[in-house]
Symmetry: C2
Subunit: 343 residues, 2 copies
């Protein structure tokens, strides 16, 4: 990549959101006297009597979890989105509001309280993927649901209140902001080029090889050119698939491998159980034409310098644009080196 | 405000960014077992020998701070934006990047290390405002600068690495993402209505009174209808002014009062030195026509339940839309009650 991109302050364009990120490669020399995170408590037991996600335990609403063996899914007891009984629309001049109804679920990845995706076998991760596929399909069929957001908050720094390996699914009637942006950009590219935006992007990345962390026959793991978080990464299917339900049955195991690789690489980066939020962006469930969508999974990890020093997205980032200190190429190099040693 | 807005999940529209926020009023019942912040160390001395912002101390680059008496401004020693010596533009298909050059400054609000804006007198705050006005004017005249972002990160939770009362100014050649959004919405409203968007919004708010925290002759402090952060607030001038340089000389003291009130109210809310990021959005400095801009100052504080429990903008918020648990009306009620007791 051009030298100046590694040395001078510049902005990069995110083709999916049509927004810019500010890159300040020289800024890493800055000393840090600010907040340091606490390291997560070392070892966890495989079963914790006080964990409301462990098998056989009782949840806040009195329900008892079954003795599940792999993946266990239930409706969130404190859901941010619920099925509203009445529809409403407020349109008072400059004050505008609308009902939003939805269904929120919790997805336990494993009964083993001590694990995270990085410690699960590829076969075990594949079961999580099967569950996501089913949920995408089934929630999409529910009345009034048009978008299914699958995500995971891992680690206390990411606001995760329970260390048991789990993710969430929030499904709802309208498209969330981030999805609207990606819907627009992919639609306008596809209409013009008759190719998927991410498919064409992938071709460029696979030629340059500078931001690739790992690839197998069906998936690429890379640091996107426009990454915001220091060690942000993205899993993209090589084939043009609109949603995870379209992954051929022979390839879910390869998606599981990609997840396994990136989460293990992360844990090795600073030698800790690496915190992040991850999420899958994919086609809405109700639209008749979704051909422009190319699903992908992103990881947004906050750590910047070590297991305890994170990047704060505050002040300038909230009022201006996201800003990063290390370049995407630098991050990809570091992560690729670790990935190569896994095998 | 309509009852259903206080009870049912809904989304509200932000007229400035044209984005939605998800509101889940029923969700506050959720128990919290997640991360708690450390309380900031109690009392600070009025002068700290180890603080690189205190008067007379030496900074990282060897420079010695003057014995300043009110506001002291210097160029950031580790600036995210610098004046680039060469201009470049990368346009490789789907990889797009451009130079971004700028000037970053640090603004010490007071030589007194122990204070924050909430403990400063209104006259002292007015001096900070004078400094902001000068910087906005002067930086705007520098070659290649078109936008001046004034902001403050307060508190360790907000990534602030030094408790000395200070803010920052990042000025740059192009408009940051958030500013672009607000530029568009204000422009399109102003072209159609011949009034400022925020001016008309303010009229509605002053009639309903439900989200007003405080007002004086020239300024209103309110929780915007579309607030994202639990106790977010906004200071809006009643007169249509495009930037802070347009505040009449007789009214800077009233702006100072507004800042004093909201920061004191915040400190009383959970009985702590309340963390936040604040920022001023105002007209770009180079555009010939900025008449559609109506400047405003926003406060984004992360605390939700107490001095140690914050709202995490993670997972769903990163991949979907921002989500809040308490309504803007509830927050405004609480803050207004505290404000009323100040007098
Ligand atoms: O410049 P500071 O205070 O060292 O750094 C802080 O504010 C900056 C601007 O909002 C952010 O980019 C940093 O992540 C944050 O830690
Ligand atoms: O649902 P949880 O894990 O209790 O809560 C966490 O994830 C949610 C979805 O990203 C966020 O809205 C909360 O702020 C966060 O603490």
């Amino acid at each position: 990549m051009e030298d100046y991109l590694q040395n001078l302050s510049h902005k990069r364009f995110n083709i999916l959101t049509n927004e810019w990120v500010l890159v300040s490669p020289h800024r890493t020399k800055r000393p840090w006297q600010g907040q340091e995170e606490e390291l997560p408590k070392a070892e966890r037991p495989t079963h914790d009597l006080n964990c409301y996600l462990c098998a056989g335990n009782t949840r806040a609403n009195g329900e008892v979890n079954p003795n599940y063996e792999d993946v266990f899914i239930f409706k969130n007891d404190f859901a941010a989105l619920t099925k509203n009984t009445e529809d409403f629309k407020l349109d008072q001049g400059l004050l505008m509001a609308e009902t939003e109804s939805g269904i929120c679920k919790v997805v336990c990845f494993s009964p083993d309280h001590s694990k995270s995706l990085a410690q699960m076998s590829i076969k075990e991760i594949e079961k999580v993927i099967y569950a996501w596929q089913q949920e995408y399909k089934n929630l999409g069929k529910e009345e009034g649901i048009n978008y299914v957001q699958i995500f995971e908050n891992k680690g206390e720094v990411m606001g995760c209140s329970n260390p048991h390996p789990h993710g969430q699914i929030w499904s709802q009637s309208s498209l969330p902001n981030e999805v609207v942006k990606k819907d627009k950009s992919q639609y306008s590219y596809f209409s013009k080029e008759k190719n998927s935006l991410l498919g064409d992007y992938l071709k460029q990345e696979l030629k340059q090889k500078e931001r690739i962390i790992f690839e197998n026959r069906a998936f690429v793991v890379l640091v996107p050119f426009w990454a915001i978080w220091p060690y942000e990464a993205m899993i993209i299917p090589k084939m043009h698939q609109t949603d995870i339900y379209q992954i051929p049955i022979s390839e879910t195991i390869l998606f599981a491998e990609a997840i396994s690789v990136i989460t293990r690489v992360y844990d090795k980066l600073f030698n800790c159980s690496f915190p992040y939020s991850s999420g899958i962006h994919q086609a809405p469930t109700n639209e008749s034409s979704n051909k422009h969508w190319h699903w992908h999974m992103s990881f947004y990890p906050p750590l910047l310098r070590s297991a305890t020093v994170k990047k704060f997205m505050v002040g300038y980032e909230m009022f201006g644009s996201p800003q990063r200190d290390i370049t995407a190429e630098f991050a990809a190099n570091v992560l690729r080196d670790i990935a190569n040693k896994l095998f």
